[in-house]
């Protein structure tokens, strides 16, 4: 319960050793993962994907096609898992919900004036409620980075708490947009604020800003989750998003996850990839493992 939890002074969030974090993150990229382990890792990564389309030009047809792909990743490869969720704008939630039916794949909606977050609070709340009413299982909100940079941590905290309340039963992912926070210290502080304010997930990026997710930034956030867990006993999930388009990189993220948070987090309830083209690359690698032949994008669906 938030009421019984003491809320720390966020200006005292731990400082991050930049050199140390980057060095440690680069170590995980040098592991060799082969054969069955690789296949298992790829299957798990596939099952953790939030298949995403967040474009101004999205149509009902595009969303339906994406939902079909979410359920039928590659029918010629029996035994594949589905992705975890489909991530769309609030106006597309109903279409996605209908298209996914009872497949068990969740619908996530980006709300709160995504991607900039520059809107009054009541607009953000209505945006969130609309998405929930349409049937969204998960809400991806953005924090007010401008207010955060101005040091108005209470404003950011209250906003997250208000959106969480508007979510009802939907799980809340809080997007920090780490590319706009610039330093690891600020990423750590924003992570702490989000978790104490009631986030179920913390998520790196909208995918609209470069740099998006990186290994070091993910490591900083995973450590924040670990410290929060030790302090409060509450598990928070993690979602790196944006820029993860290669299977090998996805495996690096899984190695990092396993080393920082351990096996309890190694499933799609506690970890997600926000991605669109990652799924095809993983499928190509799985086919390579199965047939022994290097694959071509020509023989896989267009994302």
């Amino acid at each position: 319960m938030i009421a019984t939890k003491t809320i720390p002074d966020f200006s005292l969030s731990p400082r991050v050793d930049q050199v140390g974090i980057e060095e440690r993150a680069s170590r995980v990229t040098k592991r060799s993962i082969k054969n069955e382990t690789k296949v298992n890792g790829l299957m798990l990564a596939l099952n953790m994907i939030d298949l995403t389309t967040l474009e101004g030009k999205d149509t009902d047809g595009k969303v339906k096609q994406l939902c079909y792909k979410a359920q039928h990743l590659l029918d010629t490869y029996p035994g594949l898992p589905t992705v975890a969720a489909v991530c769309v704008y609030p106006s597309m939630v109903k279409v996605a919900k209908t298209a996914l039916g009872n497949s068990g794949i969740k619908v996530a909606a980006v709300a709160t004036a995504f991607p900039s977050g520059q809107a009054p609070r009541d607009v953000k709340i209505r945006d969130t409620k609309f998405a929930v009413d349409q049937g969204a299982d998960e809400i991806d909100m953005v924090i007010s980075r401008g207010k955060f940079h101005m040091g108005e941590y209470n404003f950011v905290f209250d906003e997250i708490a208000a959106v969480k309340e508007a979510c009802g039963n939907a799980r809340l992912k809080v997007i920090l947009e780490t590319g706009e926070l610039v330093t690891y210290d600020k990423v750590r502080r924003a992570s702490d604020i989000a978790m104490y304010a009631g986030a179920d997930f913390i998520k790196t990026s909208t995918g609209k800003i470069s740099p998006a997710a990186t290994l070091p930034v993910t490591l900083v956030m995973l450590e924040a989750i670990r410290d929060f867990y030790y302090k409060t006993g509450k598990k928070i999930a993690m979602k790196p998003a944006g820029g993860i388009s290669k299977a090998k990189l996805a495996l690096h993220y899984l190695v990092l996850l396993n080393e920082v948070l351990g096996e309890e987090w190694m499933n799609n309830e506690w970890f997600r990839f926000g991605a669109s083209s990652l799924a095809n690359d993983i499928l190509m690698q799985l086919m390579k493992q199965k047939t022994g032949v290097y694959q071509s994008a020509d023989y896989f669906s267009i994302d």
Binding site: V293, Y294, Q295, Y299
Partner: protein, 321 residues
Amino acid sequence: MATKTKPGIPKESINLNGNGHSNNGTEPKRLEVLKTYKIYIGGQFPRTESGRYYHATNGKGELLANVCLSSRKDFRDAVVAARAAFGGWSARAAFNRGQILYRIAEMLEGRKAQFIDELMKQDSTRAQAEAEVNLAIDRFIYYSGWCDKFQQIFSAVNPVASSHFNFSVPEPTGVVAAIAAQDSSLIGLVSVIAPIIAGGNSCVVLASNTKPLCAVTFAEVLNSSDLPGGVVNILTGKVAELVPFFADHMDVNATVYCGAEANMQQMIKEKSALNVKRVQIYDKVKWMSEEAQSPYFIMDLQEIKTTWHPIENIGGAKAGY
């Protein structure tokens, strides 16, 4: 009679050439900086990801260089680079491709001495080496000219019995994986690369295993010739190890094999069937001869596209074109 030596430092201690002899007793010989022969992928010169190498030797068994023993993963990376480069290269104006091929010839001309030197290290006589380098330059000039001309010769306007303007044009097939002639260092490589890129394809080429020096130096020429990175990728290594991957990679559209081994040819044909690759086998071509250059080498790696374009029946006009 004792020779005169400078007082102070004994001559041996300033002898840096490492062979125990000073250079005619006057100047100390400079320690030569030897070139590292690396592979060429995506416009970069990486070492093989496998970290392996082999000794390139001359006919007498003397060591010439340590050369990368490329792995299938180097080939995979090279195909990714070739695929990425294909779109831009094939979309260029044919005339511009011709200009770039001409530029390659210019760069080759400027480094003639280096190629002659390398060919001689690999057992050619000076006369043979000069002839081979000159022909390599001329061959690029030859294909440079064909870049924007072969289409006109091999295109056709076809007579059809309906209201359509019907025409066929050659288009590049895509990414070509080629195994260059193994008995030649330069001319075999050049003769296989030039028609591939003249036609707008991109390629991954495996150089001669026993004579790899010129291939790496040729990659340096390509790198300074306005040829976009990834259009040509050059690997060095073992043919038997890499051929299966050249033939069965799903993202390769054609395989070229310049060798006479029957079982290898058979294997390439079988594996290439997987994604219906175009297979070209040049086992009887004499690369130093006239017959080794013709627009038909370009056409070997083209696909014919036929377009049916509806036309109106204009009142009073008769059929025909």
